[in-house]
Symmetry: C2
Subunit: 349 residues, 2 copies
């Protein structure tokens, strides 16, 4: 089959690789309908994370079950399934606590499963899925491309934006600031409004992203950054910071901005993978009683909440996809996202 | 009147100072019934925080209203009052948000009020209290020394332990670890049980403090520290960390221990004043979804919850006081706490 590999910084190739086969009784094989490129895939693409040898890449996909191991109980051939970006058994104590990203038997796409077998990454034609009952979530076959796109966001960005909002304690009446206008930040806007936020300030300098933020429910947009951006936020929010700030970037600058934008007693929910040197300034947090929570989003935990709203059309996070390319154009997908020509790019095998 | 001053590290003196008088219409004068020494007072005592010139010290006291400014509405001469460790108007937006420590007009004992007048510190015979309606909380005159002691803890340590528990999200059924066996840590044990925690592991190496922790409701005691202590906690809690960890010390070591003792998705509530170099390790937090919240405790916000339970005898936090000395023995009070001969020392003018 065809699959995407990263060979080195800015060297993405789509190559022939072995067809996956079932390895364990709890596996299924999934024929990928759609995959996509993640903001975190850009880290190795940009060379910020090194690539020692060629490896498969991609951790967001949806598809159709093609073959089923003997021990799989909940999935059948022909089921449409959504793959969260982490593999989990969904039964261990951490999964029961809603932290499937810390599953005792967990694994990553493109890595090895609990028995040491290679696991395909998401940007390919097919994937062997370990612990399929725990990992995958079945959904009705999408009726159109818009629904396909929205279901695909549950693999990562919609659940991740939701995690930021939950970690920041967003609830009815909250005032919210979202730092970051990538797909996760935009989904964070949508998640905050869905949870009842009254004011949602999107911090964005790009006209197309500002427009989508507003369509997702942002009540205000602030183009300024740093101290100037924080001053603007306070001006909008009656002279105080926000109840909740969603940090959806992961740099020191964005975290500092998020902390400064929170009111005393406010909460920062962060989901941006932390870049180098971004330790949290505890004295600043202490004096203002600003808490910081979040982390790698356990999106598997949020399907019960989010999937019904996607299926009903109450939310349409799939609008973050503004570019759809065939799988073989994966190099162009990475370039488009790297150059910020695309908010989020879908790959169709 | 007599009051306590710190002149330099390990140089505490009780001296004659001017009697306080009313300065603003919203002031009251309080004759101090009891004051005490705080763990944070030991920082300048130990020279960790420098002392440039002699200054008044102490921020926890209870007493009786002796004189009342013309604009005071809620207090009368003869009222017994408890002073939170921070002065606040209790009406500004931050106070209404329950973060009186960030009051827009706030001030500290031994500092200056909003009009620039000197404010007495707590370890003395009398105190001019600015913004008295906002700052002070009236309570029935205590009937005995035990009730006096418990009411005095609402000035700081009981409210601070409660803040740690609230920030850590303690609720019915929680598993809790308390790092720190000072008065705040011990009150944290009491607060966690009061909030419904099922398991409370107190980390303590001192027999007397272990005993009080158990009397306050600790279900387990761990004497080990660092990695060994964390391993012991996990063993006690079925192989996983705690839902909630109360960090009541403020050093890098204690914070690292607290973070390591939290389960994935767990919360650290911290109230230990952060000592030097204790930035938070964001990558560790991110990967395990451990959140960190808390800060300087807005104890004024917690009187509605805690005072009734103290008055009814449901909780008896005053048991942290194991030494009572006359005001003139303040130097010995500091020495006793510094040498850990006393958990918490009361001063009676």
């Amino acid at each position: 089959m065809r699959a995407t590999l990263i060979h080195a910084a800015r060297d993405i190739r789509v190559e022939d690789v072995p067809d996956p086969v079932l390895r364990q009784g709890t596996d299924v094989l999934v024929r990928v309908t759609a995959a996509c490129v993640c903001g975190s895939d850009l880290w190795p693409y940009r060379g910020i994370v090194g690539t020692d040898e060629p490896r498969r890449i991609g951790h967001e996909f949806v598809g159709v079950v093609e073959d089923v191991g003997d021990d799989v109980r909940t999935l059948r051939k022909g089921d449409f399934v959504i793959a969260p970006f982490v593999i989990s058994d969904n039964t261990c104590v951490h999964c029961r606590n809603g932290v499937q990203t810390s599953c005792e038997n967990g694994a990553g796409w493109g890595g090895e499963d609990d028995a040491g077998f290679f696991v395909d990454a998401g940007q390919g034609e097919a994937v062997r899925v370990p612990m399929a009952d725990g990992t995958l979530v079945a959904a009705p076959q999408p009726g159109d491309d818009a629904m396909l796109a929205s279901l695909l966001t549950l693999s990562d960005v919609m659940g991740t934006g939701h995690h930021a909002a939950i970690a920041a304690g967003v609830g009815p009446g909250s005032t919210v600031v979202v730092v970051g206008d990538g797909a996760v930040g935009l989904c964070g806007v949508l998640a905050a409004r869905r949870l009842g936020a009254e004011r949602v300030v999107a911090m964005s300098r790009h006209a197309d992203r500002q427009a989508l933020a507003r369509e997702f429910g942002a009540t205000d947009v602030v183009a300024e950054r740093g101290d100037e951006g924080v001053a603007k936020v306070e001006e909008l929010l009656g002279g105080v910071g926000a109840d909740a700030v969603l940090e959806c970037v992961g740099t020191k600058e964005s975290m500092d901005q998020a902390i400064a934008a929170a009111r005393p007693g406010g909460r920062v929910g962060y989901v941006g993978v932390p870049a180098g040197g971004a330790e949290l300034p505890i004295r600043t947090l202490f004096g203002r009683n600003v808490s910081v929570g979040g982390g790698v989003a356990p999106v598997r935990a949020y399907f019960d909440d989010l999937l019904p709203d996607v299926l009903s059309g109450a939310i349409d996070p799939g609008r973050v996809f503004d570019l759809v390319l065939p799988l073989d154009a994966a190099p162009e997908a990475y370039a488009a996202m790297d150059e910020r020509r695309s908010i989020k790019t879908m790959l169709r095998p």
